[in-house]
Symmetry: C2
Subunit: 173 residues, 2 copies
Amino acid sequence: MIATVFVGASVDGFIARRDGGLDWLPQEPEPHGYEELMAEIDTIVFGRHTFETVLGFGGAWPYGGKRVVVLSSRPVEHEHAEHMSGEPGEIVAKLEASGATHLYVDGGITVQRFLRAGLIQRLIVTRVPVLLGDGIPLFGSLPHDVRLRHVMTRSFPSGLVQSQYEVVHQPMP
Amino acid sequence: MIATVFVGASVDGFIARRDGGLDWLPQEPEPHGYEELMAEIDTIVFGRHTFETVLGFGGAWPYGGKRVVVLSSRPVEHEHAEHMSGEPGEIVAKLEASGATHLYVDGGITVQRFLRAGLIQRLIVTRVPVLLGDGIPLFGSLPHDVRLRHVMTRSFPSGLVQSQYEVVHQPMP
């Protein structure tokens, strides 16, 4: 099984303002691979906070028939999502046992926990051409360096620059 | 006059470890534009700390006949460098009056002060394929967003990814 992170960040490395604000993201960026990624993955793993943010956008359920898992220490009830809690290693084992092959992992704290546990294989970072000066950092602290292998980079007319990396030398979860 | 920043950063946006450590930089990266930039600029503006770090590397004076200016509130004495102090706007005015046309600005705090004053026109960021988790952030806090225009991005066999930006909508210094 592999797990992919697909995240937007400012050039100075923030994924949101301190208050979570995303107003600096381009309002209608050109397609830059999200749809392709969604076609590849079978399971979405959200942190609760990110899941609630997505629900807050309103509108139709955006994930079609994908399996959606929300990680939280508290119960989560949603007709399209299932609740799990536990260490990233347990979550991955459970998902793998039930047939998941490619996870999309989303949400600051969740991504950080999976990275720390060595359970992220692929990282796609899309840089938005702005400096914010402050905000919520891309991944937060890690117990050790995580080496990456650059796979490809492409840029878009709007100024987005997207780099894809593989995580190298995974520590054991 | 224009001022260029040329800086290396981890994928998560740090220019050094907390203690200033640079051991995560590739030891012998392929040429990636530093020489070309040096050929274009006429004046190097260092913060004191960065200047002292460069001197600490030892070896021959690396800047040939370039004019080298070290910013510090305390005196700086060096046979190849001149000392200046003051606000970025004053420094730029002085340098421009004495014939400078293209500055290379180096050093975390100095870059931040020049950025805040709207005195950086060009930003070249080279991403090293590693996550550090913590360290000295790329630019530090800014009084407002700084919008960038993406000019070009190129990647290198070692995994370095270099993006060049123009600073948009400069606030008045």
